[in-house]
Symmetry: C2
Subunit: 415 residues, 2 copies
Amino acid sequence: MCLLKLPIAHEKTLSWVDAFFIATSAATVTGLATVDPGSTFTLFGEIVILFLIQVGGLGVMSFASLVVIMMGRKISIKQRVLMQEALNQPSIGGVIRLVRNLFVFSISIQIIAIFFLSLRLVPDFGVSKGIYYSIFHVISAYNNAGFSLWSDGLMGYVGDPMVNIVISFLFITGGIGFTVLVDIWVSRSWKKLSLHTRVMLLSTLILNIVAILFFYLFEFNNPKTIGMLSGAEQFWASYFQGVTPRTAGFNSIDMTAINPDTSLLMILLMFVGAGSTSTGGGIKLTTFVVIIFTVAAFLKGKDDTVVMKRTIRNAVVYRALAITTISILFIFAALLIITYVQKDTSFMVIVFEVVSAFGTVGLSMGLTPDLTVIGKIVICVVMVFGKLGPLTLAFSLAKQTKDNIRYPDGEVFTG
Amino acid sequence: MCLLKLPIAHEKTLSWVDAFFIATSAATVTGLATVDPGSTFTLFGEIVILFLIQVGGLGVMSFASLVVIMMGRKISIKQRVLMQEALNQPSIGGVIRLVRNLFVFSISIQIIAIFFLSLRLVPDFGVSKGIYYSIFHVISAYNNAGFSLWSDGLMGYVGDPMVNIVISFLFITGGIGFTVLVDIWVSRSWKKLSLHTRVMLLSTLILNIVAILFFYLFEFNNPKTIGMLSGAEQFWASYFQGVTPRTAGFNSIDMTAINPDTSLLMILLMFVGAGSTSTGGGIKLTTFVVIIFTVAAFLKGKDDTVVMKRTIRNAVVYRALAITTISILFIFAALLIITYVQKDTSFMVIVFEVVSAFGTVGLSMGLTPDLTVIGKIVICVVMVFGKLGPLTLAFSLAKQTKDNIRYPDGEVFTG
Ligand SMILES: [K+]
Ligand SMILES: [K+]
């Protein structure tokens, strides 16, 4: 943050609160920006942002691998068995090697992506700028940061298949979660995959398709977004905007012009977020799946939540419900403060902004630059909560402090 | 509904969908109105509405007493013991007599209230109209219907202590729930009261005080609501608007002029709603209390939800979380449809309307008359869901169908 405030980091004037905001947004890989990064920062400033994104992204990756390693080493025997089963690894050494392999895999994917993106950007911007832009956007995409050096995001490439495919492949891979990548890496067959991986793959596919279809349905006759585009451009725009809200945060259309029903759809997607142990935020896709199946079981009057012929343990169901409820209460508190300090802003725009910060998504309907100082600080807190919250909660659950006093049962009616 | 459509029922023209809407709103004791009841309907029409309110209100009362009786008779021995303990009744006959006594008590309260309200309204409107207005508003208040014969609700009596006290006393008593009234009737000492009753009384008190204070804080300098009123009027307005959103739905100020932070506060209160087995809607106050305590326990890493030194059983916690989640998903679906059909309406106004219907509250920021036909039908569905939903869900839980297949446990990560 202090680096960003240095005179050599920015071309335009930059307040302390904006430097703090951009640094937080980068380190939490959110991508919300109170100032336009491309025109505000110098090359040095941009590299600082890129560094923060990598630290933020790698931080999660390292933390996730730490979890993986710890699960194999320290925690209960039951969990160790589960983990070794999931990873098909006979020893701890195997797990560590696996994590190392995955880092190599991540780097390789990014290098290949930079190559392909350069094929498009070098002709447009020349060699050095084209390669630099490719590096910046690949790192931003793989870490689901959503920062772009163009003031209109990816709107210049709305119908470009190469940019759409490369960028979305990166953020979908980065967003599906470390444990899924590990599992695919070691299993290499659908039948051997863990329940978590199969649920993640299938629900990612279904939710993305549903989101793409609804986006198209809600926007195809909106002249300010995709109404005036060609059929192919409409396809790419719907595809991209359907998959980006669950944490990536790049935009290829003008987000300030979307219809209210589209906003609401995106708010749901941003709230759901990416995969567990990914760089993304939100309540996480599996949490959402568990909740949907729990509600279905509940309405059918069944005791157990069953997903893909596997019973989800009560503790997991309970945790999913608790994460969702805590998140909603937290978002509500943030909304209350921001509506209090920014009385003239449309409510939809505020909800969109707060949920975007919670999901560390980075899409905005234009509020970010207009936030008051208190608004900026609240959004920063929400970004950090969205980033750390659920994982931290999961950990706080792992080290449950037993209560010494066991109170007798009491009855309340909740119906 | 057909009665309302009769020529003798209305003075102004009335469409079928509006007749349907008003009938649904009355029978679910919500109070939302697409047309102004006072000027649209004749005396005959108003009496039909009053009849629907009584049927809707008594329907719940009867249903609730059926639950009370069934709990003592049919369901498990454990529940029977619990119920008899709660009611301090040695036999089923005692329970039935108790229910009868409570109906007598309800009628007596309403007659007394009509007397006191007449003291204010007879001088203003003459004897016959004054008494009729008193009867209408007492029935409307006790059943938490929120219908008023004045087009501006109770704004004419914003600073009147008599109207404020009588009306709010009625809807607080009606909204606290049948089981609580039963318990107070038989226990008559704080120590003997069941946990449910003590939680209801304490949380009603705390939530009302918090709501009153926040309403005052958010509105005291808003010249369109209470900013221009005298100190005493501000007190009564804050008091009334603080307690009315949790299902009553009367307004003593101009709801279209409230600040966005106030709207958000009221949305929360309307979502929470009234007491279990009351005439009100929402997720119910005890559900909200269980959730708050569960979240607190969760964040402290504790296994049990403890309220007032009593452990809440997991099944109850789970049900509270499930009710809340289902309600939020349902509200979200309604919002999606209404934002789709009414693209030009402010999002806050739509959220306010939908949550008001869900809580069978009846407050509105002015959208009701401007709803499209689809919008009206959606709001009707939400009112019915808000009315029947949670209780029905509680019952569907009671007759759980056991699944024959027990699937093995599967692991997903939700953190
Ligand atoms: K992002
Ligand atoms: K009502």
